[in-house]
């Protein structure tokens, strides 16, 4: 039998740089209240959200991604042409094919990297990060770019008082490359397809094309079921990720959960019994829920404001439609 030469990559992988893009338009709760019977106080108490960003027609999935990824590449200190893979996680790019990743890769001047989109909802960043880490260690890419990008305002039912205020738009990106020490822990991830109805798009594109329903499809969720799953089941997953990385809560510097809802974040912190010294990302207050973009956006902001610093140990966990989840411990770039 012919002998196949094995691939060879780096011993370990790390996040080398992070970048984010938030659309120019800031939307306060007052704008949301034009279409629903609610109040600023109610929205804040149920979600912790005071403002979110909505993209203009020019701030496309591609344009936001290029901005965020450009910053991540600059932050990492490498050149765009060194990137061997571009992974884009999104559920709000409304063209099935080709993948938006190839256009983004081209606009970034990356050369000819492997480029593809993934769909893993609000766990998309963790899924992409895990793939990128595997590529770097496997050697199929020396450097891999992971982008989480959403225009969830395009998938929001502005007349639904339980969800109209939740979602926002934006893009976050990281560059993953070789490391001498472990800087991305084992990923604890999975799916619970039996709960696929818990968070979903109301109707398929096919049904919409056929005129049923008349209303454009939007994101919908069973609030209480999502809350219970996110807080109590995901706290277990977060703990498993800490255990898998051999990190105790005391050794943790930063906690960056998916920015779904402040109430979920607060309850997770309580359930996980995180020590006082752990910095918790609360970007949802001014960014809303941006699905796959939320973790890198929150990471970028914590580093930019100085609330977290390079070299800090951070627990990241994404969870959402599928249901799917992914958690890991990383060293911040």
């Amino acid at each position: 039998m012919a002998k196949i030469k094995p691939s060879q990559g780096a011993a370990y992988a790390r996040i080398m740089g992070v970048g984010g893009y938030r659309p120019t338009r800031v939307v306060p709760n007052e704008v949301i209240l034009e279409k629903i019977d609610s109040s600023d106080e109610w929205i804040r108490s149920r979600s912790g959200i005071s403002t979110r960003h909505w993209a203009s027609p020019e701030e496309t999935v591609s344009a936001m991604s290029v901005e965020a990824a450009g910053k991540a590449i600059a932050d990492s200190g490498i050149r765009a042409e060194q990137i061997g893979a571009v992974i884009v996680s999104t559920v709000s790019h409304f063209k099935q094919t080709p993948a938006i990743a190839t256009e983004i890769a081209d606009k970034l001047g990356t050369g000819r990297p492997a480029a593809f989109d993934i769909s893993a909802g609000c766990a998309g960043f963790g899924y992409g990060l895990t793939l990128a880490k595997g590529m770097v260690i496997d050697g199929s890419a020396e450097y891999a770019l992971v982008i989480g990008v959403e225009r969830l305002s395009d998938l929001t039912d502005f007349e639904d008082r339980s969800t109209a205020f939740l979602f926002g738009d934006g893009a976050g990106a990281v560059v993953v490359g070789p490391a001498k020490e472990p800087a991305i822990g084992p990923t604890v991830w999975g799916s619970e397809g039996d709960k696929s109805e818990t968070i979903k798009q109301t109707d398929s594109w096919e049904a919409y094309r056929n005129g049923r329903p008349e209303k454009f499809p939007a994101l919908t969720q069973e609030g209480q079921a999502v809350f219970r799953w996110a807080v109590f089941e995901m706290a277990k997953v977060a703990q498993q990720a800490l255990d898998a990385a051999g990190i105790t809560a005391d050794e943790l510097d930063v906690f960056i959960p998916h920015q779904a809802n402040m109430r979920i974040i607060d309850s997770m912190v309580k359930t996980l019994k995180l020590p006082e010294h752990v910095t918790v990302a609360r970007d949802v207050e001014t960014t809303g829920n941006t699905s796959a973009a939320s973790i890198p956006l929150a990471m970028e902001r914590l580093l930019a404001t100085g609330e977290a610093k390079s070299g800090d140990t951070a627990l990241v966990i994404g969870f959402g439609a599928g249901l799917v989840y992914a958690a890991t411990v990383v060293t911040l770039p």
């Binding site: 149920r46 609030g223 209480q224 809350f227 219970r228 807080v231 109590f232």
Partner: protein
């Protein structure tokens, strides 16, 4: 050993106090969680999960919406506790 009605109401009062800051003496059988005790839908989930642990009972999401009053929750726990 299965909890009595009084033990369940007392336990729920402690839980509601812990989660929503409502005085324990306000938590009575006829009180509505949302209308009287200011427990919103998300806090209700936390109350339910805490009650599950305390009384060794499973309360599925579909049943939570039927638990309008402290009395409803107490009856449910009495009937379903292991």
């Amino acid at each position: 050993m299965a909890a009595t009605e009084k033990e369940i109401v007392d336990g729920l009062a402690e839980i509601v106090n812990e989660i929503a800051g409502i005085p324990v003496e306000d938590v009575q059988l006829d009180k509505s969680f949302t209308d009287d005790l200011d427990v919103d839908s998300l806090s209700m989930v936390e109350v339910v999960v805490a009650a599950e642990e305390r009384f060794d009972v499973k309360i599925p999401d579909d049943d939570v919406k039927d638990l309008k009053t402290v009395g409803d929750a107490t009856k449910y726990i009495l009937e379903h506790q292991a």
